[in-house]
């Protein structure tokens, strides 16, 4: 069932620790067709990430809230891929995943099918000093991290989102907009011809409201017109193979 399957983490550019990191992961079929779990996201429990930090510690990144869910399957034809997005913000205990600047190594593991776990090659991620210390402090707050992940405002996170408005990256602003339910404003602020920004929006949305899982969420519908022409972005957004 999993013969030749490969899990590939896409490299990420160096990013200050006062911004949110979302990485894209793809499951690639080998030379044979495979029926695999379509749950290539952190939420439904089939995907987990290990992050090795500069001081030697290893953190586990899984969804902080345990869930029960149906299996979802998808058929990958030879050479086809399934894409997912990873919100790399917090550990399984909702602590910051990247607490300080430095070189980190990220490895993903996916339960593609019963008894068929597949791991990615380790990928280096460089987190640089913050541009804004206040924003970095906000991104260490448990309520803010949980809010960004749950796409809703939890606990005392509201004040932190005011600080996140100053973010310079589309990813952080998209995750904030989803939590605050200000997706319309977000869409209006993104240039649909700016491929980079559109890709970041799609990845951020897919990280916390993945296709196939949260299709009925109205915030996804508001984002949909922005989804670019590129096949991979469409597939990532819909959780469909490409």
């Amino acid at each position: 069932m999993s013969a030749g399957l490969q899990l590939v983490l896409r490299a990420a550019a160096p990013l200050p620790i006062d911004e949110c990191l979302v990485m894209v992961v793809t499951l690639e079929a080998g030379s044979e067709a495979s029926t695999v779990s379509a749950r290539l996201n952190l939420i439904e429990g089939d995907l987990a990430v290990a992050v090795d930090g500069p001081s030697g510690q290893t953190a586990r990144c899984v969804w902080p809230w345990p869930v029960d869910a149906m299996p979802r399957w998808v058929e990958l034809a030879p050479g086809q891929r399934l894409a997912g997005a990873l919100p790399l913000l917090a550990t399984d205990t909702s602590s910051p995943l990247f607490p300080s600047p430095g070189e980190y190594t990220v490895t993903a593991t996916f339960d593609a099918a019963p008894g068929a776990a597949v791991s990615s090659a380790p990928v280096s991620v460089r987190r640089t000093p913050p541009d804004a210390e206040r924003r970095a402090a906000v991104l260490r707050e448990r309520d803010v991290l949980q809010s960004l992940l749950s796409a809703s405002v939890l606990g005392a996170a509201a004040d932190g989102f005011v600080v996140l408005e100053s973010s310079r990256t589309t990813t952080t602003r998209t995750l904030s907009a989803l939590a605050l339910d200000r997706v319309v404003d977000l869409v209006a602020s993104v240039d649909p011809d700016d491929d980079r920004s559109v890709a970041d929006v799609v990845a951020a949305v897919s990280a916390v409201l993945p296709g196939g899982f949260a299709d009925a969420d109205p915030r996804r519908a508001a984002i949909e017109p922005l989804v670019g022409r590129r096949l991979e972005e469409q597939a990532l957004f819909r959780g469909a193979p490409f």
């Binding site: 939420i43 439904e44 429990g45 987990a48 001081s55 510690q57 899984v62 902080p64 809230w65 345990p66 869930v67 029960d68 869910a69 149906m70 299996p71 979802r72 399984d92 205990t93 909702s94 602590s95 910051p96 607490p99 300080s100 600047p101 430095g102 339960d111 019963p114 000093p129 913050p130 210390e133 970095a136 402090a137 260490r140 707050e141 448990r142 309520d143 949980q146 809010s147 749950s150 796409a151 809703s152 405002v153 939890l154 606990g155 409201l209 196939g212 899982f213 949260a214 009925a216 969420d217 109205p218």
Partner: protein
């Protein structure tokens, strides 16, 4: 509530021996006769269930030590575990009239029970037979956890070798282990039906002491919890369901298979409709439920909602008081796969009671800190029991045995054992976060401690200690903390005014990112009488301390999250702890931070910042001068300037070298100006009182800083503009300086 024990009834002194895993290792053999014609040893099955274990106090002042004990008697096994809670007996209070109440567990029908040994004949007293109950005590009194490491049962005497895990109330973690022996004797009348609770008497040997103990049986179950269900309109809590075996299962019956006595109460069934629920909405529903928490009985909120994506259920509550609520989603649909029972295909869970009941029991299991087997560090097998994800159970379904018929409505042995025997902090809703305790309990060298455990004292009723620290700092940055003690009780309290790290009453308990525990104190320690201050209800005392350089050297050199708890001996009888605060220590991020860090991470500079004086260390003097002149805009630079101002405002004599450094008031004033420039009066004095050694109440830097601030007050023309904030700033600074000398109740 285990399987009936196949072990023969030891009506004589037959010995049943159980190993460290609780399994029987020696078959029974017959020995001598019963010693009394009326009283005989209890059958081993009578031990099975929940007990209140009490240590009989040796004196009036001994801590009150009691807690739940669970004895699981299996077909060929016997396991014992328990959680002990201690509370100091406030028989006399030498310093004031306030006597905090002793909190008794909710659900305890026998609050006034005498803890002295009772005669076994009490078992023959007729009414009333109390209903089952589960000893539960305030989390703040938690002291230690124990589990059996081998046991024997012979002639009515249960002997258990226990491993004790000591709990540190400050860090809220187990910190060390030791071993002891629990001996309990159970006798029961042979001629009358005992309808009083079964009582055992015996001894506990641990920590070098032998204590008399009493155990009172409270239930044939091991633990209990009240489940409060709220439902959204038109969504149904499945009160019962016919499962694959043809039996009828309920929430209660499923938990009963794990020895849990679960009472389900449906509160609200009219929560307004909302097609899609977020975690935030669930959290608000949890916090706004109409039934307030009362007492110490365990309770869990279960919500029957509409939908959240395609989830069947979620244990969404992972905040600072975690695992108090879980939810199932009635609108989530099963698929139309052939391995789904025909009547359930493409149906919402609301229409498939067995599937929905399974999910709700599963989510409650997460709230009791059970993991999905595939995510559990103990790596139990993935299967069809309750804690497997529905998707995994469906993986075992077939067209001949479709879901949910193929599901087992029981907990796996691994989960059942955790539910019965894991420590209260791990299992009780609202205590440790989800996932805690699924590794091994903390190991470490056993420490010689008495039966009361490491924390024989109580959290203080009516006193609250607050600790404030920056949320983050870089390695080498000057760090201060504020400590505030408040009387939240109804009467006055006489408390220590020594809110410093130098005089023994206050200590910071710091847990480093790698889990090590330190006691953080000042580098200078003073001894003397404990001056008391009277706190009227609502009043507080406050002080500021530096934690940059302490008995640990530079306190925060390890990047990562440090947790700090303040512990204060408020009076001779009362220890009070702050809530834990965290400080994230990072590596220096900018060139400026790198420069500062490189200068401060030397012992000489650290000691100067801690003592408020560079003494005869000329190298430290040079570095402090540089920091003050180059980085006075930062707190670290300003603190350096204030150390220079303090040092140079007075003379210093090195008696061993017979050298004297004269005071240099002009230089001192220049450094004072550097520290004050661009800084509020309040912050300037905060820094001044922290660089001054706590044992030097007359350190010139405090008075000089305050004098300069007063001198710099806005003149008449500017005063009006600055009145709103400037005057308040100076007043605040004056209070801080006053508190440095002697904290005042306010």
């Amino acid at each position: 509530m285990s399987e009936p024990c196949n072990c023969p009834e030891p009506s004589s002194d037959e010995a049943l021996v159980f190993d460290e895993d609780g399994e029987i290792v020696r078959p029974p053999h017959h020995a001598g006769p019963v010693t009394s014609p009326l009283l005989g040893p209890c059958p081993i099955g009578a031990l099975d269930g929940s007990w209140l274990l009490e240590v009989v106090p040796k004196t009036l002042f001994s801590p009150r030590l009691r807690g739940p004990m669970r004895i699981e008697v299996g077909a060929s096994s016997l396991r014992v575990s328990g959680d002990m809670y201690s509370q100091r007996s406030h028989v006399l209070d030498p310093v004031g009239p306030v006597i905090p109440p002793i909190v008794s567990p909710a659900l305890n029908p026998d609050d006034d029970a005498d803890t002295a040994p009772s005669d076994v004949a009490d078992d023959l007293v007729v009414f009333p037979l109390p209903p089952p109950w589960y000893p539960s005590f305030p989390k703040s009194q938690y002291s230690w956890y124990f589990r059996s490491h081998g046991a024997t049962y012979v002639n009515g005497t249960l002997t258990v070798q226990i491993v004790r895990h000591l709990w540190n109330r400050a860090t809220q973690e187990f910190v060390s282990t030791d071993h002891g022996t629990l001996v309990l004797t159970c006798r029961r009348s042979l001629v009358a039906i005992a309808i009083r609770p079964l009582v055992m008497q015996g001894t506990l040997t641990i920590g070098g002491t032998v204590s008399t103990i009493k155990a009172t049986k409270t239930s044939t179950f091991y633990r209990g919890c009240r489940i409060e269900v709220d439902a959204m309109v038109n969504r149904n809590f499945p009160a019962s369901a016919t499962i694959g075996s043809g039996a009828v299962a309920t929430f209660r019956s499923i938990y009963a298979t794990a020895g849990w006595d679960v009472t389900v109460v449906t509160d609200a069934i009219n929560i307004p409709n909302d097609a899609s629920l977020t975690n935030a909405e669930l959290a608000v529903l949890l916090s706004s439920q109409p039934q307030p928490a009362t007492g110490e009985g365990w309770r869990l909120w279960l919500f029957v909602g509409s939908a959240s994506g395609t989830l069947f259920g979620i244990m969404f509550d992972d905040d600072l008081v975690p695992r108090e609520g879980a939810a199932g989603f009635a609108d989530a649909r099963l698929s139309s796969d052939a391995v789904i029972a025909a009547a359930a295909r493409n149906q919402p869970l609301n229409n498939v009671p067995a599937a929905f009941l399974r999910t709700l029991v599963h989510e409650a299991g997460h709230a009791f800190n059970l993991f999905h087997p595939k995510h559990d560090v103990h790596q139990p097998a993935i299967g069809i029991e309750i804690m497997n994800q529905t998707g995994d159970v469906i993986g075992f379904a077939s067209t001949a045995n479709p879901y949910p018929n193929n599901a087992a409505f029981v907990f796996s042995d691994h989960d059942r054992t955790s539910l019965i025997h894991s420590p209260d902090p791990q299992v009780r809703p609202g205590w440790k976060n989800f996932g805690w305790g699924h590794g091994s309990l903390s190991a470490g060298l056993p420490a010689p401690v008495d039966v009361g455990g490491l924390s024989a004292t109580d959290d203080a009723n009516g006193l609250v200690l607050n600790l404030s620290m920056p949320q983050q700092a870089f390695v080498g940055e000057y760090v201060t903390a504020e400590v505030e003690l408040t009387n939240t009780g109804d009467g006055p309290r006489h408390v220590t005014s020594l809110l410093t790290l130098a005089e023994g009453d206050l200590v910071f308990l710091r847990t480093t990112p790698n889990g090590a525990l330190d006691h953080v104190l000042d580098v200078a320690l003073g001894c003397g009488p404990r001056p008391l201050v009277v706190l009227q209800p609502g009043q507080s005392i406050t002080n500021r301390v530096q934690v940059f350089f302490t008995n640990q050297g530079v306190t925060f050199t390890m990047p990562g999250r440090h947790t700090v708890v303040a512990q204060l001996e408020a009076d001779a009888m009362t220890t009070v702890y702050s809530e834990p605060v965290t400080i994230d220590i990072r590596t220096p991020g900018s060139d400026k931070e790198v420069t500062i860090s490189a200068k401060t991470l030397t012992r000489g500079v650290g000691r100067a910042l801690a003592l408020g004086d560079f003494a005869n260390d000329e190298a430290a003097r040079a570095v402090l001068t540089d920091l003050a002149e180059s980085h006075a805009d930062t707190d670290t630079g300003a603190a350096s300037a204030l150390v220079m101002a303090n040092s140079l405002a007075r003379s210093f004599t090195d008696f061993r070298a017979d050298r004297r450094r004269n005071a240099a008031p002009k230089e001192a004033a220049r450094f004072l100006d550097l520290a004050l420039d661009g800084r509020s009066a309040e912050r300037a004095v905060e820094l001044a009182v922290t660089v001054a050694s706590p044992t030097e109440k007359d350190a010139p830097v405090v008075a000089d800083t305050l004098a300069r601030i007063r001198k710099n007050r806005p003149k008449a023309s500017a005063r009006a503009r600055a009145k709103a904030d400037g005057t308040a700033d100076v007043a605040s600074a004056e209070q801080i300086a006053e508190d440095f000398v002697a904290p005042q109740a306010r």
